[in-house]
């Protein structure tokens, strides 16, 4: 199953030890965002707009302020104006102006659930009571939640000061189309004209939520000297610091952010919704303040992934070569500009295939729903859905096996991807060959069953990371890093440190440090942590080895150049000094031993996955059951295979949920109709079969242990894998997600 192309063997890399934070997490001791309590803490609550689009004429907070137990009330008027610039917020930069408005509305609300005021009080009950006493004078405005309607002339315009970016001529009238971004190579029209087959289709997707189970929560504490502390669960506490500082006009170093354990994020926790509000409340009240979101608020007011309308024309030659593509997509960006999914959508649309002549245009369209935010491979699953369905249709028309069709077009080492990067040791073809050879692909199907194949890719990232490695007095090892552990990364860091140092995994303790205790680290996102922060850990460990060799040389009265590092010890001929011995004498050889690496590595490689989905459709109800699912992925090298497989399995199931069930449903009044887990139906255990994760290991030569990012790729293929399986089972090409029972049933009826 795993065929590493280089046969380097490792002591620890590739094994499955128990994660260092595991026991805390299976016994209920781990402290997550909503669990943290500060002494003297007040309880905050946020008043949210019941209207999807309205002007705020005034807010009267006097009665709330007069309520016994209320210690502070804030509104948009308490936020400093003029927050501007951008902050690296994970996979995509964040515009501070809109980040600030997202935290608290100013003169307008742009979506149902938009925060308009907040209260801190001695109990949660008093805070809730106080919200009822705040009078907001709204002038309700016409709203729009649908992409096409938002572009219709004469409809409601959300922002008077937003003009479409990216047009040849700067427009003079404001528009809900906030951004156009295009990529052109060759001559798509000419290529499509010369193609033997052209598939033309329209695909639509609804917004879906990241669906992390832990609600957003934080405690903020402001002190009279202007220093602030924040305890929160986030994918990136350094960006919480920078965004809070930027929004509130504080200096970055005056805020210290303590990362708590994080209960899922998937990109959705790379921004701030609560922290600046809690900090303002704390500043007014002079006490720490907790703010937390309820599940309904999370659906209504935190970032989903954009819904989309995608038009595609994809052409192929008789041998299956994809010759030309013309793709135009519109993403539903939500209430505020600044979403970057259009950029990543354009760049990743054809990122794993050679299509010499292509024209890809993306639009960000503002509507009265929450501003979209990163969700696992942001911007890619939508366009891949269209492309992979189109390839499936072309393969059928040309009578070519769908895997062979992809093999004919897939990028190979030396090719250039959609971002213009020339790719080195990519394992796309290996992954496809393994998919074709997998027993699943040849297994017989039962009645009413169908099989779908689809691929997907994500560019991955490196990004800045800092890590420190130091020796304790007894020679045990401390690793300090700045990336919240969202799925087992402490284990991977400990394994890489122990592997490098030549010691036991158990000798290493990993701490995810606060923003004042380690240098800058970009957030846990972009499938970058094991790659970039892992590389920083390895480099710091190597630096520590160099120091230990020098110390050993002193102890042995020898030249450091003659000393070798072997199996956790300095070795000179027959003489051997262990880490413990070197540590014990460090006071006499120059003091404590530690080293830090602060890096911004390149050399990252994209991920590529191929999924096989078998499903069965009940013709009586249109209900779909996934009966077998196999997900193959080029993972570089898996440090801890359990957590690599886990990423693949979890991403696949999120994608299956997107394909089959999940969708934001707005009613005519612009209210979200399914703002809870009962009606926003994410997959549960009884919906799913086992998900076979197959790791294809084509190591990345630019990482000391061959790592490629794995987290995001697996959500890209499932949408089309499911839709192609429905096509196979029913003969129907349904381009609208979700493939819910009623939709399938209606199409089956219509086809009869």
């Amino acid at each position: 199953m795993n065929a590493p192309s280089d046969q380097k063997t490792f002591r620890l890399v590739g094994t499955r030890p128990i994660r260092p934070d595991g026991i805390e997490k299976v016994t209920g001791k781990a402290i997550y965002g909503p669990d943290f309590v500060a002494p003297g803490m007040l309880h905050g609550a946020v008043l949210r707009s019941p209207h999807p689009h309205a002007r705020i004429r005034g807010i009267d907070t006097r009665r709330a302020e007069a309520l016994a137990g209320v210690k502070a009330v804030v509104t948009g008027a308490d936020f400093p104006g003029g927050a501007e610039g951008t902050v690296a917020g994970g996979e995509t930069p964040t515009d501070l102006k809109y980040a600030s408005i997202k935290c608290m509305a100013r003169d307008k609300v742009f979506f149902e659930g938009h925060a308009v005021a907040a209260v801190a009080a001695t109990s949660a009950a008093v805070a809730e009571e106080a919200l009822k006493l705040i009078a907001v004078d709204y002038e309700v405005l016409p709203h729009v939640t649908d992409i096409e309607e938002a572009l219709r002339p004469g409809g409601p315009i959300l922002h008077d000061d937003v003009f479409t970016q990216g047009l040849a001529e700067t427009p003079t009238t404001p528009s809900n189309a906030s951004l156009r971004f295009a990529m052109t190579r060759g001559d798509a029209e000419q290529a499509l004209g010369a193609a033997v087959e052209v598939y033309t289709g329209r695909f639509t997707l609804q917004p879906v939520h990241q669906g992390y189970i832990e609600p957003h929560a934080c405690v903020a504490s402001w002190q009279a000297d202007g220093q602030g502390q924040i305890w929160c669960s986030t994918q990136g506490h350094f960006s919480v610091r920078a965004m809070t500082a930027g929004i509130l006009g504080m200096s970055i170093a005056s805020i210290r952010v303590m990362p708590l354990e994080i209960g899922g994020g998937f990109g959705g926790k790379t921004t701030v919704y609560l922290e600046p509000v809690a900090m303002l409340l704390s500043r007014k009240a002079g006490r720490p303040v907790r703010l937390a979101m309820q599940r309904g608020d999370i659906f209504r007011a935190s970032g989903p992934a954009p819904g989309a309308v995608i038009d595609i024309r994809l052409g192929a030659l008789a041998d299956g070569t994809l010759s030309g593509a013309d793709i135009e997509f519109k993403y539903n960006g939500g209430g505020l500009p600044g979403a970057y999914e259009v950029y990543s959508g354009v760049m990743s649309t054809l990122s794993c295939y050679r299509v010499p002549d292509a024209n890809v245009v993306g639009w960000n369209v503002l509507t009265n729903m929450p501003t979209v935010h990163a969700y696992r491979a942001p911007g890619a699953p939508q366009t891949y859905f269209a492309v992979e369905c189109a390839i499936d249709e072309l393969a059928r028309r040309l009578g070519i096996d769908p895997i062979d069709m992809r093999l004919r077009n897939v990028l190979r080492p030396g090719d250039t991807d959609g971002r213009g990067m020339t790719l080195g040791a990519i394992g796309y073809a290996e992954t496809l060959e393994a998919t074709k050879a997998h027993p699943h692909y040849a297994a017989p199907l039962g009645p009413n069953q169908g099989r779908g194949i689809a691929c997907g890719s994500w560019g991955n990232y490196g990004g800045p990371s800092t890590a420190a490695v130091s020796l304790a007095e007894d020679g045990s090892i401390l690793v300090t890093e700045g990336n919240p552990d969202i799925g087992g990364s402490r284990a991977a860091m400990a394994m890489m440190a122990a592997e490098t140092l030549g010691i036991a995994y158990e000798k290493v303790r990993v701490t995810v440090a606060d923003t004042s205790s380690i240098g800058y680290s970009m957030g846990t996102g972009g499938s970058r942590t094991t790659f970039a922060t892992g590389m920083a850990v390895v480099q710091a460990a190597e630096a520590v080895i160099e120091i230990m060799k020098q110390r050993a040389a002193q102890m042995l009265g020898a030249d450091a150049a003659g000393i070798e590092w072997r199996d956790g010890a300095a070795v000179l001929g027959e003489q051997r000094l262990s880490i413990a011995e070197i540590a014990a004498k460090s006071g006499m050889t120059g003091g404590p031993i530690s080293a830090e690496a602060a890096i911004h590595p390149g050399g990252f490689l994209p991920g590529f996955g191929a999924h096989i989905c078998d499903l069965e459709i009940d013709p009586e109800t249109g209900h779909t059951t996934v009966v077998r699912y196999t997900a193959l992925q080029d993972v570089g090298r898996a440090i801890h295979p359990d957590y690599v497989e886990g990423q693949i399995q979890g991403g696949a199931v999120q994608g299956i949920g997107w394909a089959l069930n999940e969708a934001y449903v707005y009613d005519r009044e612009g209210h979200l109709d399914n703002a809870g887990f009962l009606d926003y139906r994410m997959p549960v255990a009884s919906d799913m079969p086992m998900i076979e994760a197959v790791m294809i290991e084509v190591p990345n030569p630019d990482h000391p242990y061959g790592v490629k990012g794995v987290g995001e790729t697996p959500i890209v293929p499932p949408l089309a894998a499911v839709a192609n399986a429905v096509r196979d089972a029913t003969g129907l090409r349904i381009g609208d997600l979700p493939l819910s029972p009623d939709r399938i049933y209606a199409r089956l009826q219509a086809a009869e």
Binding site: E645, G650, V684
Partner: protein, 162 residues
């Protein structure tokens, strides 16, 4: 509105707390008793992160009033391990890598233990349906189901007469 005094037993220990009449058991456990192992993912009975066992029955503690705990036995995630000895379900979650973020994990472990207390040999589909009230967004359930099946096998072995 005056508070209610509730006397109950949590993980075998007698406990008393004051609560508002409308407070949920989950709030009382987390806020009054400092037992934050039970999580709130939804507050509406849809995610199972708050799962506890009340007089032998698995419940969502967000749907139970704190006052209803009066005179009853509550078992939470904090009582699943015996001292520092992990329960086999906990051990198998670790061995199988059945948690990523770990936020859903307490609810899953309490629910899985409740299943195995009733049914020592569940089939895969019995495990999946029993756990259908617990949401996990990270794992896709594969490793969770395997961990529970494996814990069941180990418990059967342990219980076998020597």
């Amino acid at each position: 509105m005056s508070k209610l005094l509730v006397s109950t037993t949590v993980n075998g220990d007698a406990q008393e707390f004051l609560c508002d009449p409308g407070a949920t058991l989950l709030e009382a456990l987390r806020e009054q008793l400092g037992l934050t192992g039970s999580k709130e993912g939804c507050g509406s009975g849809d995610c199972g992160a708050c799962t506890v066992v009340l007089d032998g029955n698995m419940v969502c503690s967000c749907l139970v009033l704190a006052a209803e705990a009066e005179g009853r036995q509550v078992a939470t995630i904090e009582g699943v391990a015996e001292g520092s000895m992990l329960h086999p379900v906990q051990q198998k979650f670790l061995e199988h890598g059945a948690l990523q973020c770990g936020f859903c994990t307490p609810g899953f472990i309490v629910a899985a233990k409740a299943l195995l207390d009733h049914n020592p040999a569940p089939s895969e589909s019995e495990v999946r349906y029993w756990l259908a009230g617990n949401l996990c967004r990270c794992t896709g359930y594969d490793k969770i189901v395997r961990a529970v099946m494996d814990a069941a096998a180990q418990l059967r072995q342990e219980r076998m007469p020597a």
